[in-house]
Structure formats: structure tokens, C-alpha cells
Amino acid sequence: MSTHTMNMDPTVTNPSSRRSFIKYGGAAGIVGLAGCLTDDGNGNGNGNGDGNGNGATVGDSDDSVDTVVIGSNHPLTGDLSFTGTRMDNAIKLAAMLKNEQGGIESLDGAEVEVISEDNQGEQELGSEVAQELVNDGADVLTGCFSSPVTNAATRVAEREQIPFVISVSIDDDILQETPLDYVYRPQPSADRMSRDHAEIMPQVARDAGIEVETAGLFYIDISFGQSVRDTLRDALPENGVEIVQETSIDFGGTADTQVTSLREADPDVIIATTYEAGTVELLRAMDNQDYRPPVLAGCANAALNDTGELAEIGEIANGALATNFGLNPTLDETAEVRERFSEEFDQTMDANVGMSYASAQVIIAAIEEAGSGDPEDINNTLKEIEVTDHIAAMPPVTFRDDGENENALGVLFQVQDLVDRVISPEEFAEAEPTF
């Protein structure tokens, strides 16, 4: 029995008019309550029973679904919001494109609606916002970029039994520490990506005849940077690369001293693991000190996969090798999506944003395959699904029991003419490495 059908006015499709949505949801709540009173058997355990105010829930009389709601939980303000707002937009774009193509076919063209809330990058708001999104009728959730926030939000999803497909959150622990039944991550985790980087990046350089025996690490001194650093400390020596210098940057800092210390250590490769700003500062400082290592690399680096950032950094970025999740350049759709994104939002897509789009595609594919807007159905589908129709530079997405994508892949890019081009693995490669 599905009690989680939607009774939304089909005209309420504008994702930004959340207020009117709430109003409507509130009104629907009475009906919902009435439904509960008349129907004792309403025990699907999705939280409706404990009255979490799921206003969109209506009695099970109506089988037709007009709208399926994705709740997007991202930092729209605060110091992660530069990327957070774009990730949120990527989710919206995926829904928008799906609706333009006629909506969910298996649900007679039901619309995909995205409701967004701001978690401000704050841990206590992660769960708060997730709960609100559920209350506001989200059938499936996505988010949250910052790992502690994602952690908090996924617990709510687990409790409310609403599937949660992580847009981007790199921390291994989110899925690997606790078994979760409703949480999925299409992207590679930090550990996976760092190991791929330590293996493939030196190989590519060596194939081109460049000696890579020593490395200098440049990372942002927060959780994300430290965990990549820790894995690289293990993985680089395994691949014959010795770390000769480690130096970190803080939020809002400049990189002059760091570059001096890297210059002093003179490694064969510098691996940068930062948000956009850190790498921009690194390259600016390198430029200022007229220094350039034989190989410049990035691991889970946001800036080197962002054409907007690359344009701003300029020449010096060319040739850099970066491992990240990214978009599949061999598909025409990828270019269309990029173009549409910049058209709609006047922003560029970096790896995080692209990955968020792909995650939304996974969600939409699951809804389509489930042929249902019911969270339980969507969740069951996610467990089995194999999503081939996505623009991430990855093989088909399919989830292990722990929710990690079995085929998650970090690809290697090279910046060429200030564009990030995939050079490995071969199936996604769009260019040859040049040095």
C-alpha cells in the first residue's frame, strides 16, 4: 500500500516558490490527518505514523502521481556556498531537463520537482534541513557537500526511510563506518580517489618520459585536505614517489610561504588538494615567484576542473594533471548540459557541480525505473539499479551493499588550453597528455 503518493497541484512546479508549496502542504496536512484517522492500517513506517507532518501525504485513494520531489540540501550561504549554490543549481537543472523531455515516463509524465534548503554548512542544520525537506514532501534527498553536514543529514534519511543520494561528500566514513540502508554515493570516496591518483598520475608522467620520484603536497588544512594527504602518504611511496615536502593553507590564506618551501624542496611533482581559492592562490604565488615544478597535479582539486577558475588562473595552469570525478567528455550531452548550465545560472560547472548533476541523474533514473514516487520503492530500486544514462566519467553506476558506487572512478585530467581534458582512463579520454 502506498500512502506516499502526492496530491500536489500540478501547477506548483516552480521550484523557487517554496512558500506557496508549504502553504499547500499545510492544507494537505488536514486531509492527511483525516486519512490517518480513518485508516488504521496506515503502517508503512515511513514516518507518517509518528506525525512528522508530511503534509504531502494523502490517503491512498489516489494512485496517480503528478510530481516527485527531490529535496536538495546544500550550503547556499556561508563559506562553502560558492560551490554549494552551484551544486544546488545542478540538481535543479537535471530536473528541469527531465521535465522538458516530458517528465517521468513510467509515471505518465510526472514532473520532477526540486525543493532546496540552505544548510549553511552547519552540522546542526544538516539534519534540521533534511527533516524539513522530508516534511515538505521530499521523496528522495540529496546533498550536502560538507561531510559532517552530510553525516547528520543521512541519519535523518535513514530514520525517515527516505533514500538519500549523496551529491558530493568525499569523507570515507559517511558510508563506511555505519551500515545505512537508504544512503548511496555515486562518486568515489577520498580514499579511492587518492589511491587512483597516486597510481595513475605518476604513470602518465613517466610514460611521457618525465621522472616523477619526489612529490610535494599542498593541501587545505581541514578534514578534506588532511584525509587526502593521509592516503597519499601511504599510496605515493607504494608507487615509487617519495614525499619531500608537505605544506598547508588555511581558509582565506595566501600561498607565498608555501610556494617558497616547495621551491626549496624542489619536488618532481606538486599535488594540490584544496577548494578553488587555495589552488588559485598556489598558482598565483608560483607565478609571482617564477616557479613551476616539472609536474603540477591536483587530487580532488576543485579549481583545476573548473573552466571558470582556469580562465582566471591563466597560462600557468596549463599542463596540470588532476584526478577528480568529472564529466564524460565523450558524450554530446555533457557539452549540452554545460552550456545549458551556464545559460541558466551564469555559472561554470566544476567537478563537484558536474558530479551533483550526475547524482541527480541517478535519482531520476531510479524514479523512472521504480515507476513510483514512493520513497520505499525508489530505495529498493536504487539497491538494484544500474544507471548507464549519466554524464559522469564513470562506467554505469551501481551500488554495493554499503551504498558506495561499485564503479566509482576518479579520472585523470590534464589542463590543456585552460580546459580540463580527460586523458585517462582510455574509455573516457578526449585528449593525449602533452608535456
Partner: protein, 368 residues
């Protein structure tokens, strides 16, 4: 308003004022407050005229509200009662969180024990701060900045020590790894509701402690120190010892909130538990509610936290809520420096229900 309603409301006010003068007034009010808080989760589901509280207020939000009410109550013992303005209570909050999680993660020690260990650590750190600052007689801005520095110091130390989790911090282990499963003993639950009652119980404990202190000899000594430290010393109060006691008690209880935070939110990091903003969030409810009062921190938290939440939820434009929040802070400090607890009296003053403020004796003295 007709004068009749005015006068009848005025009567209500006078009754209330009389009531407030009774010794049982505060316990009774606290009883009412806690009574409401006990049934509040159930109230969330009740829908009246199509509007249920639950659409605006979630259990999670109530839990966070209680956490800040609890920390503000703890902070108040040191800063509101004793007058030692701390801007670094995140240090104690974080120590509670880290003590709990470190022990349970690394040694599978029950988090309740870890919480007490964290609390003792926090109290010791508080004593260290106190001994140094009071020994060197830091006051006012200097004391506040010093406490802030001690909190930031912990943040950066932990951030740089891998054994303490570094910047990645810790994720709380599953209950079965150290206990039979979720439940009170494990300090982990599968739903929010038990968490709500745990933090409510914490709040009840610290409020009781604060109330007892407020009405005890000990409390009087603390107030005396706050009002005039020299005069307090002159009437024999060992000011150094009592200031340290207040810091230690305050730190001890603040740490519990950190432990709760760690067990509720699953992960802790230096960035989250020692955050600069935590310092502010801890003290704000006490200031908004009424510095140095027992009811103030609770009322304050129920104004500050839900208001910012409701603003966040009802304003479409992300960020507007912070503007509202900031405005609220400014307005409350400007127009209600004595806090929410003073509102009934202020309202009465405004409407002219107050007795003539002149006191016969005072008049007698001055005209003599």
C-alpha cells in the same frame, strides 16, 4: 484599549508581581516550563485549524534549542552569576565532545563515563584558565579575549594532532561496538525523541543546579563577587576560590552538552565543536533571556533558536534569516538589555500599571 480592560489587565499584572515576590514563584514557573517541555514533542503533532506546530517546528530544532538553553544555563553560572564574562566556552563544549568520543572510539569506554571524563577535563581546563587569568587579574575585555584564545588554542592543537583525529575528527561508533545496542546505556537511539528527553533531563539537572546555587549561600557569594569584588573580599568571601569554583562548575556542565552533541550528531571535528560561533551560540540565549537569572537562558534559547529557524524557513532568500537574526540581537541589546525576563515589567511600565516608583523611605532620606 478601553480603560476597563486596561485596569483589569493591570490587576493581572499586580497579581503576577505579587506572585513573583513569593519564594515559590521561580520553582513554580520552572515547573510549568518543564511541564510544557515534557509534552512539547506530542504537541508538535496536534493540528489546529489546519495548522500544526510540527510544520514549522521539528523535533530536531527543539533538541538544538534545548542544547543551547542548556549551555547558556551552564555559561550563566560563571558569567551571569559570577560576572566573569567568558567568550570561550567552546573550549569546554569541545572537551566534552572529544572526551566522550575519544574514549568510546579508541577504548570502547561507555560514553556516559566518557562524558564525565570530558566534563572533568573541561573543569580542569577551566581551572587552568581561571588560575592564570585571576592570578594575573585579567578583567573585562582582556578576560573575554583570553578565554577566546584558550578555546582557539584547543581547536588548533587538535587540528594538528593526528592521534586526536586531526581536522577529520571522529565519527561515533555503532552502539553494538561498546554496548548491547541503541538505548540509554549506549547514549545512542534510533529516533530523535529519546535524545530530546536526554537533553531535557540535562537541562533539568543544570537548571536545578543553577536554581540551587541561585538560592544558596554559595550563590550569594558569587553574586557578591559579581557586584563588587573588593567589597566581597572585605566581607570575607574567598573570591579567588569562589571564582574558580564557578568556572569549574560551569565548564563541567558545558562539557555535557559537547558529549550530547557528539552522540547526537555522530561526528565531531575541531571545526564544528570549537567553532568561533559556538562561543556566541552558548552565551547568546543567556543574554537575550536575562543575564544571571535561572529562567532567562531557557526563555532566551526558545526565542533565539526557533526565531532564527523560522526566519530561515520562511524567508525564501538564503541569508535573510541571518539578517533578521542580527537585527534581533541588536534590537534586544539596545532595547532590552535586561533580557526577556524583564518584559512583563517593562510592558507594565509602558502601560502605566507600575506602582509609583518612588519609595517612601528613599524619599524620606533625600528630603531630610
Amino acid at each position: 484599549m478601553s480603560s476597563e480592560t486596561g485596569s483589569s489587565l493591570s490587576t493581572v499584572w499586580h497579581r503576577y508581581k505579587q506572585f513573583r515576590n513569593e519564594s515559590y514563584a521561580t520553582p513554580l514557573l520552572l515547573g510549568i516550563i518543564f511541564g510544557i517541555l515534557i509534552v512539547l514533542p506530542a504537541l508538535l503533532e496536534v493540528s489546529i485549524a489546519g495548522y500544526s506546530l510540527g510544520t514549522r517546528v521539528s523535533l530536531g530544532m527543539l533538541i538544538v534549542t534545548l542544547v543551547w538553553a542548556y549551555t547558556a544555563q551552564s555559561w550563566n553560572i560563571m558569567s551571569g552569576f559570577t560576572g566573569q564574562f567568558s567568550f570561550g566556552h567552546a573550549a569546554f563544549f569541545g572537551l566534552g565532545a572529544y572526551g566522550t568520543i575519544l574514549l568510546v572510539s579508541n577504548y570502547s569506554i561507555n560514553p556516559w563515563i566518557g562524558m564525565l571524563v570530558g566534563a572533568v577535563l573541561a573543569a580542569l581546563y577551566g581551572l587552568l584558565i581561571g588560575v592564570l587569568c585571576f592570578r594575573y587579574d585579567l578583567r573585562g575585555h582582556y578576560f573575554a579575549l583570553a578565554t577566546l584564545a584558550f578555546a582557539e588554542l584547543l581547536r588548533f592543537i587538535i587540528n594538528n594532532i593526528g592521534a586526536l583525529g586531526g581536522a577529520s575528527g571522529f565519527i561515533k561508533p555503532l552502539p553494538r561496538e561498546y554496548a548491547d545496542g541503541p538505548g540509554l546505556l549506549a547514549f545512542q537511539f534510533s529516533t530523535d525523541l529519546p535524545y530530546y528527553y536526554v537533553i531535557l533531563a540535562f537541562l533539568l539537572i543544570v537548571t536545578t543546579v543553577a536554581f540551587v546555587i541561585r538560592n544558596s549561600r554559595f550563590g550569594l557569594y558569587l553574586f557578591a563577587i559579581r557586584e563588587d569584588e573588593n567589597a566581597a573580599a572585605a566581607v570575607g568571601i574567598p573570591t579567588f576560590k569562589y571564582k574558580l569554583s564557578a568556572v569549574a562548575i560551569s565548564a563541567f556542565f558545558t562539557a555535557w552538552a559537547g558529549a550530547f552533541w557528539a552522540m547526537y550528531f555522530d561526528t565531531i571535528r575541531p571545526d564544528t565543536v570549537f567553532d568561533l560561533l559556538i562561543n556566541v551560540e552558548i552565551l547568546l540565549p543567556a543574554i537575550v533571556g536575562g543575564l544571571g537569572t535561572v529562567i532567562g537562558p531557557i526563555l532566551g534559547s526558545f526565542i533565539v533558536t526557533p526565531l532564527s529557524e523560522i526566519a530561515r524557513q520562511s524567508l525564501d532568500l538564503p541569508g535573510t534569516d541571518r539578517i533578521v537574526y542580527g537585527l534581533l540581537l541588536v534590537l534586544i541589546v539596545l532595547y532590552s538589555p535586561k533580557g526577556v525576563v524583564s518584559w512583563p515589567k517593562r510592558l507594565a511600565d509602558l502601560l502605566g500599571w507600575q506602582d509609583s516608583p518612588t519609595d517612601e523611605d528613599a524619599v524620606d532620606e533625600t528630603h531630610n
